[in-house]
C-alpha cells in the first residue's frame, strides 16, 4: 500500500541559518526509516518537509521530495491540503496537545476521512472502530464516545495513530510518539504501532532520539546532526558496526555504563531516615488524614554519600516523596530525621541551615530557572542568602561553580533563554551546589534531555558525588538512568514502596514482580527485543 519516498538534496533554512543541509535519502515502499539525532539536529524539520511544510520563519529553500509520483514541493496550497492528512499523515509527540478537548475522540478520528471525502461518515466510524481494535485499545466500540481527558496518555497516542491511518495513507510520519510516555506504557504503544505499520505495509518515517526504541521499529536508520546526514544504513548494520563517530557516541550514551560509586558507604552514618511517612493533598479529616493520599507508609534510610534511586510510573508518588522531604508538602503521618535530628514537616518551621542542607533540582530546567534572571544572578542568590558572600568573593565563587559544572564562565551574563537544554540543567545543578548541601533531591533531571546530553549530566552527577561527597535521592522513571548512578533502587507503585534493591543485586533475581516488569519494559538496544518480549508474554490488553 505504501509508496516510495525519494528525497533529494532537501535544504531548509531559517533566515541565514541552514537547518537541513542538502539531505538525500530514499525509502522503499512499506519500509520504516528512522530519523535520529539530538534536539536541533533538524529531524522534525525534515519530517515536516516531507509534507511540504516548513515551520513559521523557516523556508524549504531547495531540493525535491517525491512521494510515489508526486513532487511534493511543487504543489500549490490547495494540492498540499489534499495531500496532508490523506496521502501523508502525521502523528505528533504530544497527543494530549493534539486533540481538541471539547469534542469526542471518534468525531476527531474520522475527520480526515470525511474532510478528504474518502469515505462517508458511517463507513469511517466503522473503520475507526476496526482500527481501535487493531491498536489493542480497550472497548473499541465505545472508546470513541469519550473525550480526550477520559483516556490515558498511552491510549490517546494510539487514538492519534488511528486518526493518522484512517485515510489509508501512503506515508505516515511518527514524530517522537512515545517520548512522553512511561516505559511500561511505551512498550504497549510501540507494540501497537509496529503491528499496524507491518500489517498495513505503509511507508513510515519514525523520528526519535532514542536508539533503543528505533531499533524495534525501523528497517533503516538515518543519523542526523546539525542538519547534515552523518550515517545511514540498515538497522542491524548500524547498531552492530557504526562507522561515524557521532553514531558511536550515540550508541555509547544509549548503553549507560554504571558510574562507579565512591568509598563504601555501608558504615557511613545515616543522613536521612524516613519512618512510616505518609502524605497527601486535600482537606484533612478528623484524624488528620488528607482526602487524597499520595504516599503511604514509606520507610527509607539514606547514608551520607549514598545515592538512592526512586523509580515508578507517573502517579506512583515518587515526586511527592521528594516534595515531602523538601518541606513543600507537610506529611500527615510518620517522621523524618535528618542527620540525627527530627526534620520539621513544613518549610516555615525549618531553620535556614536545614533548608540549605537539602536542595531540590527539578526535571524541567525551562521552568526551574527564572527566565528574567541572568545565570550569574541565579547562582548569586543562594550564595548571598546562605553565606552572605559579596563582591569579589561572590564573583569568584560563581566562577568556581561554573567550572564545577563544566560551563564556560562567559555564560554568566546570559539569560536562561540563551542556553541549551543541557546547559540549563547544569546551571540548575550549580544552583543547588551553591548552597553546599548534604542532600540533593533530583527529580527526573535527565528526562527532558537528549541521550548524549543526559549521559553527560549523569557523569557530572556521579563526579560531584565522588568529589564533594553529596548524597542523592534520585527520582526517575527510567531504570537505566537510575541503575547507572545509584547504589540502591527503591521501587514505588501507587504510593507505596514495593521493593528496595541494592546495586550488587541488580542483575541477580528474582526481584519483586513489578521491578521485573519495569526492567523488562526498558527497550534494549538490539533488534528483535520487542519480538522476544512478545514471545515471553502474550500481548497485554491495556
Amino acid at each position: 500500500m505504501g509508496s516510495p519516498v525519494v528525497v533529494d538534496k532537501l535544504t531548509v533554512s531559517a533566515g541565514g541559518a541552514t537547518l537541513v543541509d542538502a539531505l538525500s535519502f530514499a525509502i522503499q515502499p512499506g519500509e520504516v526509516l528512522a530519523l535520529i539525532g539530538e534536539s536541533g539536529s533538524g529531524k522534525t524539520t525534515t519530517a515536516l518537509a516531507l509534507m511540504g511544510y516548513a515551520r513559521r520563519g523557516c523556508r524549504i529553500s531547495g531540493g525535491s521530495v517525491r512521494i510515489g509520483d508526486v513532487d511534493v514541493l511543487s504543489l500549490d496550497a490547495r494540492q498540499l491540503r489534499a495531500l496532508r492528512g490523506h496521502i501523508v499523515t502525521y502523528i505528533a509527540q504530544s497527543a494530549a496537545a493534539s486533540f481538541d478537548p471539547s469534542r469526542t475522540i471518534l468525531d476527531q478520528v474520522v475527520e480526515p476521512a470525511v474532510l478528504h471525502g474518502t469515505m462517508r461518515r458511517g463507513e469511517a466510524e466503522l473503520k475507526a472502530i476496526q482500527l481501535f481494535r487493531e491498536l489493542a485499545l480497550p472497548e473499541p466500540e465505545s472508546i470513541g464516545q469519550r473525550y480526550p481527558h477520559q483516556v490515558s496518555g498511552g491510549q490517546l497516542q494510539r487514538l492519534m495513530a488511528a486518526m493518522a491511518l484512517i485515510t489509508d495513507p501512503e506515508v505516515v510520519i511518527l514524530d517522537e510518539p512515545t517520548t512522553a510516555l512511561d516505559v511500561t506504557t511505551q512498550v504497549e504503544v510501540l507494540r501497537a504501532f509496529r503491528r499496524v505499520v507491518r500489517e498495513r505495509q505503509v511507508t513510515a518515517v519514525y523520528v526519535s532520539h532514542d536508539l533503543a526504541v528505533v531499533a524495534q521499529m525501523a528497517d533503516h536508520i538515518l543519523v542526523l546532526r546539525d542538519g547534515c546526514m552523518r550515517e545511514v544504513g540498515a538497522t542491524e548494520r548500524l547498531l552492530a558496526a557504526p562507522q561515524n563517530e557521532y553514531t558511536i557516541s550515540l550508541l555509547a550514551a544509549a548503553r549507560p555504563a554504571p558510574r562507579v560509586s565512591a568509598a563504601k558507604v555501608a558504615d557511613a552514618d545515616v543522613l536521612l531516615r524516613l519512618q512510616g511517612l505518609s502524605a497527601g493533598y486535600g482537606t484533612r479529616n478528623a484524624e488528620g488524614k488528607p482526602a487524597i493520599m499520595i504516599i503511604e507508609d514509606i520507610d527509607l534510610e539514606l547514608r551520607r554519600g549514598q545515592a538512592i534511586g526512586v523509580i515508578g510510573e507517573s502517579g506512583s508518588g515518587k515526586t511527592t516523596l521528594a516534595r515531602a522531604v523538601a518541606g513543600l508538602l507537610a506529611p500527615c503521618a510518620g517522621t523524618m530525621q535528618f542527620d540525627g535530628r527530627t526534620l520539621p514537616p513544613a518549610l516555615a518551621q525549618r531553620t535556614r541551615d536545614e533548608l540549605r542542607r537539602i536542595q531540590i533540582v527539578f526535571q524541567s530546567a525551562d521552568t526551574a530557572l527564572n527566565p528574567s534572571h541572568t545565570v550569574e544572578r541565579i547562582l548569586a542568590r543562594p550564595l548571598e542568602f546562605y553565606k552572605g558572600l559579596k563582591g569579589q568573593a561572590l564573583r569568584r565563587r560563581i566562577d568556581e561553580l561554573l567550572d564545577v559544572v563544566k560551563l564556560p564562565r562567559a555564560l554568566a551574563d546570559r539569560l536562561p533563554g540563551g542556553l541549551s537544554g543541557g546547559q540549563k540543567q547544569r546551571v540548575n545543578l550549580a544552583r543547588a551546589l551553591a548552597a553546599e548541601p548534604d542532600l540533593i533531591l533530583c527529580d527526573e533531571v535527565t528526562s527532558a534531555l537528549d541521550t548524549v546530553v543526559g549521559a553527560a549530566v549523569l557523569d557530572l552527577i556521579a563526579e560531584l558525588r565522588r568529589e564533594l561527597g553529596v548524597s542523592y535521592l534520585f527520582i526517575s522513571h527510567d531504570l537505566h538512568t537510575v541503575r547507572s548512578v545509584c547504589d540502591e533502587i527503591v521501587v514505588m507503585r501507587h504510593g507505596r514502596k514495593l521493593a528496595q534493591v541494592a546495586r550488587a543485586d541488580y542483575d541477580r533475581g528474582p526481584h519483586h514482580p513489578y521491578y521485573e516488569q519495569l526492567a523488562r519494559a526498558v527497550p534494549e538496544l538490539r533488534r528483535g527485543w520487542l519480538d522476544d518480549l512478545d514471545k515471553q508474554r502474550p500481548a497485554l490488553v491495556a
Binding site: F362, D413, G417
Partner: protein
C-alpha cells in the same frame, strides 16, 4: 541590578547593558518614545513658550486653521493650540499618574495574593470584586460629591476605579508564574514572601502588565473626559483633552479643527505609549528566546 554592573567587566566586546537595552528598540519604539517625550515637554514647558494663553477668547468662533491660530479656535473663539498644550498638563499628568497608581497598586496586591496563602488571596479578591460591582461613574460621582472636585481627588478616584481590573489580570498571570519550579526553588531556599513577589514573579509578569497599562491609560483618559462632561472633572476654564473634544463637539458637523486636534492628541499619545511598551526590551528578548 547589581548583576548588571558586575557582568560588564566579564564579557569582552559586549556593549554596556543600557546601550544593549536601547538597541532592542525598533523604529516604531523610537517614534513612540519621541511622541511621548514631545507631549511630556509640551506639558512642562509649553505654556511658557506660547505667545497667548488659552484663556484669551473673543475671536471668531470655530475659526479654521490660519497663521494666527495654527489649530483654529474653539467654541468661545479661544486659540486651540494653546488649549491643547495646556490640556496636556491634565491629560499627561492626571491620566498618567492615575494609571500608574491603578496598575501599580493592582499589581502589588495581585503579587501579594498569589504569593501568600489562601486567606489573603480570598479576602483581597472578594474585596476588589465588590469594588468592581459599583458602576465606575457612579463611584466617581460619589467621591467628588463627598470630597469636592480637585486634581488630587480625580487622580485618586480614577486610580481606585481601575485597581480591580489591573488586579484581576495581574493575579491570573502571577498565579501561573507562582506555580512554576523556580518559585518553588526560591521557597525551599527560605526566601521571604516579598522576595518571591518582587524578584521571582514580578519580572515575569511585567511585560503583559505594561501592555495592560497602555490599555488602561486609554480608559482613564476616557473616564476623565466623561467626568469633565458631567461637570465633575477638571473644572472650566481649564480643560483636559477629553473635555476639549466634548466642548467642541459642535464643530464636528463643520469639520472644524477644534474637535479634531484634541482627538488627534489623545490618539497620538495612546498609540505612542503602546508603541513604547511593545518595544520594551524584556518582551523582545523573550520572543527571541522562544524561537
Amino acid at each position: 541590578m547589581s548583576s548588571l554592573s558586575t557582568s560588564a567587566g566579564r564579557a569582552h566586546g559586549v556593549p554596556s547593558p543600557w546601550r544593549m537595552r536601547l538597541g532592542y528598540f525598533g523604529v516604531s519604539g523610537w517614534i513612540g518614545l519621541a511622541i511621548v517625550a514631545f507631549w511630556a515637554l509640551a506639558a512642562v514647558f509649553g505654556p511658557t513658550l506660547l505667545s497667548r494663553t488659552g484663556a484669551a477668547g473673543g475671536g471668531a468662533v470655530f475659526a479654521p486653521i490660519s497663521a494666527a491660530h495654527w489649530l483654529g479656535t474653539d467654541y468661545l473663539g479661544r486659540d486651540m493650540l494653546a488649549r491643547v498644550i495646556e490640556g496636556a498638563r491634565y491629560t499627561v499628568g492626571v491620566a498618567f499618574l492615575a494609571t500608574l497608581l491603578a496598575s501599580g497598586t493592582g499589581t502589588l496586591l495581585a503579587l501579594l495574593a498569589a504569593a501568600s496563602g489562601r486567606w489573603i488571596d480570598a479576602t483581597l479578591s472578594r474585596g476588589l470584586d465588590t469594588l468592581t460591582a459599583i458602576p465606575s461613574k457612579m463611584f466617581a460621582l460619589l467621591i467628588v460629591a463627598g470630597f469636592g472636585s480637585s486634581v488630587p481627588m480625580l487622580v485618586a478616584a480614577a486610580a481606585v476605579i481601575y485597581v480591580p481590573g489591573a488586579y484581576r489580570i495581574a493575579r491570573s498571570l502571577a498565579v501561573n508564574v507562582n506555580a512554576l519550579d523556580y518559585v518553588t526553588v526560591a521557597r525551599t531556599r527560605g526566601e521571604s514572601t516579598g522576595y518571591v513577589m518582587l524578584r521571582e514573579i514580578l519580572p515575569n509578569i511585567a511585560g503583559p502588565m505594561l501592555a495592560d497599562l497602555g490599555l488602561r491609560f486609554v480608559y482613564v483618559v476616557l473616564l476623565l473626559a466623561s467626568l469633565s462632561f458631567l461637570g465633575l472633572g477638571v473644572q472650566p476654564p481649564e480643560a483636559d483633552w477629553g473635555s476639549l473634544v466634548r466642548e467642541n463637539i459642535l464643530a464636528l458637523s463643520e469639520g472644524g479643527a477644534s474637535v479634531i486636534a484634541p482627538s488627534l492628541a489623545i490618539a497620538s499619545l495612546t498609540i505612542a505609549v503602546n508603541l513604547v511598551i511593545d518595544n520594551l526590551p524584556g518582551r523582545g528578548a523573550r520572543e527571541r528566546g522562544a524561537r
